[in-house]
């Protein structure tokens, strides 16, 4: 297997803000690399560098073996980009957007039209093809965005938060499309704030925070890295939730999480050998159990462990404005 994407020590500053502080990325051909991080983590900046839109201040990157700075024109022939900001033209119809890109890529008028028809059909947009894109729903718009990045049959596809702002149905449509592309052998780099999205689609995940890679691995490896498993205990009598939490705390050393309103207590478990002891003590204290289960950590918990804050925390704070501002400058 060859490396389709390779980045070493990428650095990018926007004024005093350090968007990337030496990030390394790598994706094997034909795989999906998930770049996971909160808003403002540097995901979009990394994508913009890899797609030749932005020169790095430090470090090197290659796509398909070509340097993104010195061989940008070659890289552009290999890639497709669907971003939060790389967009289609609102004022044109879906068909004309795709025909325009086909023509820009050197297709004849007839070929560009045929390719547009083919892609619109593939994305279920045949009916809407003649209407201006500004009349489309969010999901349709995202699909035409995706179609636009596929006109040139890219080998490497960059999807910058492809499902942000979509409803659950729109998300699952985009997910299906991505799976279809991967089965065609396309390499995909996908950025996302959604942990389940990376878990669902990615072969490998890179977690970035404040411009740095803080963890890499397969979804399973990442889960294993941070204790791996979560024990969930639900007492039959809800009044004893506090007692359950105390027992779990004493055995796992973790601060058990009892969500307000939840019926169960969850705790990270580094070592499964403490389980018999926990069961015995719960029994000794006369706590009757409704549920006692062990599961792998969700990526949400992985993120919390790795960064010390929840993935959603920054999204509502300063994140969006600063990253967007920086990225377009």
């Amino acid at each position: 297997m060859t490396e389709a994407i390779r980045a070493e020590g990428l650095v990018k500053n926007f004024g005093k803000t350090r968007a990337l502080a030496g990030a390394d990325l790598s994706a094997q051909a034909g795989t999906v690399l998930g770049v996971l991080g909160p808003n403002g983590a540097g995901k979009t900046t990394a994508v913009r560098i890899l797609t030749t839109l932005l020169p790095p201040d430090g470090g090197t990157a290659t796509v398909g073996g070509y340097d993104v700075v010195t061989d940008a024109h070659r890289v552009r022939q290999l890639i497709g980009l669907t971003g939060q900001y790389a967009s289609v033209d609102d004022g044109l119809s879906g068909t004309n957007n795709l025909v325009m890109i086909g023509r820009l890529l050197g297709l004849s008028r007839a070929d560009a039209k045929a390719r547009a028809r083919e892609l619109l059909a593939k994305f279920g947009l045949t009916e809407a093809g003649g209407r201006p894109v500004k009349t489309y729903s969010g999901g349709m718009r995202r699909r035409v965005d995706l179609a636009a990045s596929l006109v040139g049959r890219p080998q490497v596809l960059f999807l910058d938060e492809p499902t942000t702002g979509l409803d659950p149905q729109g998300r699952s449509e985009v997910w299906d499309t991505i799976r279809m592309l991967v089965s065609d052998g396309v390499t995909v780099l996908l950025t996302t704030q959604y942990l389940d999205e990376a878990d669902q689609l990615a072969d490998d995940i890179v977690v970035i925070d404040h411009g740095r890679v803080i963890a890499t691995g397969t979804p399973d490896e990442l889960k294993a890295k941070v204790g791996g498993q979560v024990l969930e205990v639900e007492p039959a009598d809800q009044a004893r939730l506090g007692d359950v939490a105390a027992v779990l705390a004493s055995w796992t050393g973790d601060e058990p999480v009892a969500e307000p309103g939840a019926k169960l207590v969850a705790a990270q478990l580094a070592n499964a050998s403490v389980l018999p002891g926990i069961v015995r003590q719960l029994d000794d204290e006369g706590i009757e159990l409704a549920e006692f289960s062990l599961r792998k950590s969700s990526l949400d918990e992985v993120f919390l462990t790795l960064t010390g804050h929840r993935a959603e925390d920054e999204a509502t704070a300063s994140g969006l404005a600063t990253e967007r501002d920086g990225a377009t400058r």
């Binding site: 030749t52 024109h73 980009l81 790389a86 044109l92 049959r153």
Partner: protein, 270 residues
């Protein structure tokens, strides 16, 4: 499957031929023209604006100026409104560039293996269509109102061509504003603020003799005065050569100064 010339498996080429760059620009010109056709609001505004100015200026000021003869004032003011209309229309160039950049359309273009200058060239070439629409509406409606070309049709066409050439120079200033300002609203505010003194402190709408001395000096140096005078000469008679020649020199000067500036900002920005 492999209808594309860019099919997978073909090794990518190191650079783009200049011919391909020209083709890219033509494709993007097609896009701009298509947008004018499909954006009925822009088209309506583009047509209504000169009609409104013609009606307002002719009937509001006409009686007061030109010794009370509305027809005489129309004969005087139409070439001026022609210049003014096309000048305002050039703002659209900056506006569209600005919108394309903030909407991320330029990012898509830049991720494609096309000539870097093609989106800018396409936007500017496509806008010539808008200027032509402005010219046709202004002259056409003026004639409905009673304006008559008293020279010959060929000279009138030359006047329109002169205005178009000048507009293609002015649109570089607009492009520079559009590329430098953050939001489309900013382009409009900034553009109109810059354009009003150029339009009004000139011989576009009134003869400059009644202005105070210092303003007369400005108005005389204002290229709009020269351009309007040249158009008047070509459409209703009077001296042409010097005014037309100086207008063209101004156009050249504007291109020489502002085109490189706009291209520089464009390169930095994109």
């Amino acid at each position: 499957m492999t209808t594309a010339t860019l099919a997978a498996g073909q090794p990518p080429t190191a650079r783009l031929s200049p011919l391909a760059g020209l083709r890219n620009s033509l494709t993007l010109t097609w896009r701009s023209v298509l947008k004018i056709r499909t954006n009925s609001e822009d088209l309506l505004g583009l047509s209504l604006q000169p009609i409104m100015f013609l009606l307002l200026f002719t009937y509001v000021f006409g009686g007061a100026i030109a010794h009370g003869s509305v027809h005489d004032y129309l004969q005087y003011v139409l070439p001026g409104i022609l210049v003014q209309t096309v000048l305002f229309a050039t703002l659209g160039t900056g506006l569209m560039l600005n919108q394309d950049i903030s909407a991320g359309i330029f990012d898509r273009f830049r991720s494609l293996p096309i000539a870097r200058w093609a989106p800018l060239a396409g936007a500017i070439m496509g806008d010539v269509t808008r200027y032509v629409i402005s010219v046709v509406v202004t002259v056409g409606f003026g004639m409905i109102m009673g304006f008559r070309v008293t020279t010959n049709p060929l000279a009138a066409v030359a006047a329109c061509a002169l205005v178009l050439v000048f507009a293609m120079a002015m649109c570089w200033i607009s492009a520079l504003i559009g590329l430098s300002v953050k939001t489309p609203q900013g382009v409009q505010t900034f553009g109109f603020t810059a354009m009003f003194p150029i339009v009004f402190a000139s011989g576009l709408l009134v003869p400059i003799q009644t202005m105070p001395g210092w303003l007369q000096a400005f108005a005389k140096a204002n290229p709009m005065t020269l351009l309007a005078a040249a158009c008047r000469g070509l459409m209703t008679g009077g001296p042409v050569a010097v005014n037309a020649g100086e207008s063209l020199l101004w156009a050249l000067g504007i291109v020489v100064v502002f085109a490189p500036l706009a291209v520089r900002v464009y390169r930095r920005k994109t």
